[in-house]
Structure formats: structure tokens, C-alpha cells
């Protein structure tokens, strides 16, 4: 989004040195986004060593304590330490976000390639994808969650199914436009087999838009997970996740706002970081795409 502003275009008279600072100057959103995201990942990994206690430890005497030196983010209705719960909760969001992004990209890529190359399959596949896409994704995930027990794996699966059509549509579009390119025609004329054409000529060109799309899917998946957990159809309540903590704080939000506030802040900042990264990657990887959105 910032790519059109003249100030973000790097000065060419600067020495051609691929230093970190240069990258930061050129793509500030990537730098900011990835810095925040890496910090959150580190926090999630090292949660046990960051002054946390057992996030599921119940203490009836310590219920709904305001944030203090002892409980940095306060405690919830069952006396559990919210700081510890929020830090451990990062794990769920990150695992769901990354898993959905990877799964949806890989499956969507496969479906998109099939649709783009096999004319007969195309019509059927795309009608199915249109059908899935016309069910609002959160609603689709909710409906799928209603069929299964709440578990992180099922949450990942439900959100992935809802996100696949977007990737496959994108890939199909790229494939259809590439098939008309002279160099693909040349490859066909030279007798190159279809699998080789896909791997050598088509795949590399789908990579950039897929990576960009995957970051947006990652962000959307994190929000959907939180929403599912918030309405009680997501991650089981035993596992601390940002959505669950907010769900538990829901009844008390008018008097104990901090219970809702801290997981909300972490969720928002994490999603913001992923979105910034996505915008930056879009500008960096595909200048044409940057112009359209």
C-alpha cells in the first residue's frame, strides 16, 4: 500500500549493499511485521520461562484480582493467572494460523492446478468451490465444528476447508493466464510433458501470490479461531487460547474489563503483524498486485 508513495522508493545513489538496514528502509512493513511476529513466536515458545505459572492452576482465594505486581494481567473467575494464560494462549493462535495457512495453500494449490489444467474437471471443481465460497467462512467453520468435538486439530481442519476455495481460485486464475503465454506454448511445442511444465513453468509463478495469500489466510485463521473459541465452538476450554480467555471474561466484562482486554490486545497485535507482513510481501514480491489492491 505504501509502494506508490515516492518516499518509500529507495534512493538509488545509496551504495548497493544488501544490508539489513537497507531492507528495513525499503520494506518497513515487512520489518515491523516480522519483528512483532518473531517476538510473539519467541514468547509462545519460551512461555514457561517468562515468569509464568501453571496457566490452568485454579486458586479460589485469588479470584478476579486486578492487575498487580503479583498478577501482571490480573486473575480470572477461577483465580487463574491471566498473564500466564495469555502467553500460553499465543501457542494456540500461532499453531492454528500457520497450520491453516500451510494446509490451505498446499491443498488449494493442488486443486487449482488440477482445475487449471484439466478442462473437464474445471467446471465441476469451480462450481463446488463457488458453492463453498458462498457460505460465509466463519459460518462454515461453525457448522463444521458443530459436527465434531472441540479440539485444536478440528479447528484447524474446519478453518482450512473454509479457506481452500480462495487459494484454488487464485491458482486457477494464474494457471489460465500462464497457459496462454508464448513460453508455455513453446514448451508444449518442444514436447515437454505436462508435469514438467507444471513444475518448471507454472509453479514458480504461482509462488508469489500464494505466499501473499497465505499470510492473509494466517491472519484470518487466527481471528476465526478466536471467534470460534469465543462463542464456545472452538478450542476446548481446558486449553488456554485468546478466544477462550475472552469467552471466560465475557460475563464480567463490565466490571473486570482487563480479563477481556489483555487477550484482545495480544490477538490484535499478532494479527496486525501478520497483515503488515502480508502487505509488505505483496509490495515486494508482486508490484502488479500491489497496484490493484
Amino acid at each position: 500500500m505504501t509502494v506508490q508513495s515516492p518516499t518509500t522508493v529507495p534512493a538509488d545513489e545509496a551504495p548497493k549493499r544488501v544490508g539489513l538496514w537497507r531492507l528495513v528502509r525499503r520494506y518497513p512493513t515487512i520489518a515491523i511485521g516480522s519483528t512483532i511476529l518473531v517476538s510473539i513466536i519467541l514468547v509462545a515458545i519460551f512461555a514457561p520461562f517468562l515468569g509464568t505459572v501453571d496457566p490452568t492452576a485454579i486458586s479460589t482465594r485469588m479470584r478476579t484480582r486486578e492487575p498487580s505486581a503479583q498478577f501482571w494481567f490480573g486473575t480470572d473467575m477461577l483465580g487463574r493467572d491471566i498473564y500466564s494464560r495469555v502467553l500460553y494462549g499465543a501457542r494456540v493462535s500461532l499453531v492454528v494460523g500457520f497450520s491453516v495457512a500451510i494446509l490451505a495453500s498446499v491443498i488449494g494449490l493442488t486443486i487449482g492446478l488440477i482445475a487449471g489444467f484439466i478442462r473437464k474437471a474445471d467446471a465441476i471443481i469451480m462450481r463446488v468451490m463457488d458453492g463453498i465460497m458462498s457460505i460465509p467462512s466463519i459460518l462454515l467453520a461453525i457448522a463444521l465444528m458443530a459436527l465434531t468435538r472441540g479440539s485444536v486439530g478440528n479447528v484447524i481442519l474446519a478453518i482450512t476447508i473454509a479457506e481452500i476455495p480462495r487459494v484454488s481460485r487464485l491458482v486457477r486464475g494464474v494457471v489460465l493466464s500462464l497457459r496462454e503465454q508464448p513460453y508455455v506454448d513453446a514448451a508444449v511445442a518442444a514436447g515437454t510433458s505436462t508435469p514438467v511444465i507444471i513444475v518448471k513453468h507454472i509453479l514458480p509463478n504461482t509462488l508469489a501470490p500464494i505466499i501473499v495469500q497465505a499470510t492473509y489466510i494466517c491472519a484470518a485463521a487466527m481471528i476465526t479461531e478466536a471467534i470460534l473459541s469465543f462463542i464456545g465452538a472452538g478450542t476446548p476450554p481446558i486449553i488456554p487460547s485468546w478466544g477462550n480467555i475472552m469467552a471466560e471474561g465475557r460475563a464480567l466484562w463490565q466490571v473486570k474489563f482487563y480479563i477481556v482486554l489483555f487477550p484482545a490486545l495480544f490477538l490484535s497485535v499478532t494479527v496486525l503483524a501478520v497483515n503488515l507482513l502480508g502487505d509488505g510481501l505483496r509490495d515486494a514480491l508482486d508490484p502488479r498486485l500491489a497496484k490493484t489492491i
Binding site: 505504501t2 459460518l139 461453525i142 465444528m145 478466536a226
Partner: protein, 313 residues
């Protein structure tokens, strides 16, 4: 033109068929045997089998699907397991709050987002542009319930300007109705505003580079006339398309917004149905929302082919 309209309407049929098949499968594979539920605890396996046969549950999938579609066509969405009431009746009771929320959100979002997008495109590259687009990224990132709680905390609890939660039917007056919808609509509209503002900016940037805009400026027309009358008109198609596509965000977001603001609408009905595993209700709601979404996008497609003389079929 007429052919196009007919073809576009016919094109929604396969889409709705896929949706219907999906929604039906949902109930088909849902855990729990309706026959066993009806038979009760003391039933023998033979009793359950008898009930299953009398309900037609032993027949093949295709026949049951056909019957179910026929049932839907007569506006019968089945009976709620939990309340024993017809699903259509449950939906009808909850329709007004959700429709109100969506309409108010739509109006607020479009009237904020389009001018912001136009302004950003006009001032492209300046600090104004970057502030607006930064705000858009923010709008994409902050989930609807986070915005909802923060708005409710600041404007309802701390400042006491607006009611905290609840819903007042429009029959009890326009202002009481609107008053309750302002905060939820802003919360729900956040993502929508971000989306529309981005698209408006992108399309306006393209339009503003065209020759006829330079001509209009050269004629000495005011900036406002050029932007809103000449440019925006030609940027309308992508913007309207995104408004249509974004309705999916509104539907998904309404489920959460209604929970945060205690609005007794379809979103709350969805959440309650999920928690009670009331499959016929879930089925009916998914079907209804998808149907609305498909219809909105059909309407959008038809509207701009009618409005934009450049599109000829």
C-alpha cells in the same frame, strides 16, 4: 441484456445446489440418531428401527436429499430439536435485529469508507493517504469483538453516551432503535470499512489517471465535482462488487457482534444452536445466510450491468 440476466440468474442454481448438498450432508453425518432421540431411553432396538422406518431415515441418501429439497422449496426448514418449534418460526422471530444491524452497518460503513477511499486516492502518497490506509490495515486486523468491547467500554460504560447492550425493536421508535445499534454497527463495520476504503482508493487511483479527468480539471471544474461526479461514477463497479462480496464478512461478524452486545438476533440463535447441537437450526441458518449472500451478489451483478452503460451483453 435479457439473455445475460437470465443466464446470471441460472448460474446461481448450481451454486445453491452445492450449498444445499453441503448443508444436507451436515445433518446426514451429524452425530446422534434422531430416531433414538424420539424413541427415548426405554426403547428397544426394534422400536428405534420402526421409528426410523416410519420417518424414512432408512432410505438412500439421494432420495432423502430430494425430499429435503422439496421440503425447503415449501419454506419448511424442519423442527428444532431443542425447542420443538419450527425452524422458520425461530428464524422469523430473530430476523429483525439482525437485518437492522446489517442495514445500519452497511449505511455507516459505505458512507465512511467511500469518502475515505476517495480522499486517500486524491491525496495519494501524502500523510493523509498513509494515515487512512494505515487505519485500513488496523481495521482488517482488530477482530470485531475486540472493537466491540473497547467501544462499549469507552462510549457506554465510561462516557455513558450510548446504551451498553441490548436491542429495541423499531416499533418502539426510531431513536431508541438506532441508539442501540450505533456501537455494534461500528464494531461490525470496521473490517468492511477497511475493505471498501482500500478498493475505492485503488480504483480511484486508476480512474484519476485517465484523460477525461484531466479534461474535466482543465475545464476548471471544482475538485469536488471531478472527484465525486466524474471519477467516482466510473470507479463504481469494483466498489459495488466489493460491497456485495463483503456481505459475507457482515454475516460472519454478526454472529460475534450479537454475542458481545446481547442482541437477540440470528447470530445469537446460531451460537445457541451450536452450543445445544441443534442441527436443524444450524442447517436452516447456514442455508438462509448463504442464500442471502448469493442473492446479494446476484443483485449486485445485475445492478451494475443495468447502471453501467459500458457493460453490454
Amino acid at each position: 441484456m435479457f439473455v445475460y440476466v437470465v443466464r446470471r440468474i441460472l448460474a446461481t442454481i448450481p451454486v445453491m445446489a452445492v450449498v444445499a448438498l453441503f448443508v444436507f450432508s451436515l445433518l446426514y453425518i451429524a452425530p446422534g440418531d434422531p430416531a433414538a432421540v424420539i424413541a427415548g431411553d426405554q426403547a428397544t432396538p426394534e422400536d428405534v428401527e420402526k421409528i426410523r422406518r416410519s420417518l424414512g431415515l432408512d432410505r438412500p441418501f439421494v432420495i432423502r436429499f430430494g425430499e429435503w429439497v422439496w421440503q425447503i422449496a415449501r419454506f419448511d426448514l424442519g423442527t428444532s430439536i431443542f425447542t420443538g418449534l419450527p425452524v422458520t418460526q425461530l428464524i422469523a422471530q430473530r430476523l429483525e435485529p439482525t437485518l437492522s444491524l446489517m442495514v445500519v452497518t452497511l449505511i455507516i460503513a459505505v458512507s465512511i469508507a467511500v469518502p475515505l477511499g476517495v480522499l486517500a486516492a486524491w491525496k495519494a502518497g501524502t500523510i493523509i493517504d498513509r494515515t487512512i490506509m494505515g487505519f485500513a490495515v488496523f481495521g482488517f486486523s482488530v477482530p470485531v469483538f475486540v472493537v466491540g468491547y473497547i467501544l462499549a467500554y469507552v462510549f457506554a460504560l465510561e462516557l455513558d453516551w450510548l446504551p451498553v447492550q441490548g436491542y429495541t425493536p423499531i416499533s418502539r421508535g426510531f431513536w431508541p432503535w438506532l441508539e442501540n445499534l450505533i456501537l455494534p454497527s461500528i464494531a461490525l463495520g470496521m473490517v468492511y470499512i477497511a475493505l471498501i476504503a482500500r478498493i475505492t482508493r485503488a480504483t480511484m487511483m486508476e480512474v484519476l489517471q485517465q484523460d477525461y479527468i484531466r479534461t474535466a480539471r482543465a475545464k476548471g471544474l471544482s475538485q469536488r465535482t471531478v472527484l465525486f461526479l466524474h471519477a467516482l461514477k466510473n470507479a463504481a463497479v469494483p466498489v459495488i462488487t466489493v460491497i456485495g462480496i463483503g456481505v459475507a464478512l457482515l454475516i460472519g461478524g454478526a454472529v460475534v457482534t450479537e454475542s458481545v452486545f446481547a442482541i437477540p438476533g440470528l447470530g445469537r440463535l446460531t451460537v445457541d444452536a451450536i452450543l445445544r447441537r441443534d442441527y436443524p437450526v444450524i442447517q436452516g441458518l447456514v442455508l438462509l445466510f448463504s442464500f442471502i449472500y448469493v442473492l446479494v451478489n446476484l443483485a449486485v451483478d445485475l445492478v451494475y450491468t443495468l447502471v453501467d452503460p459500458r457493460i453490454r451483453y
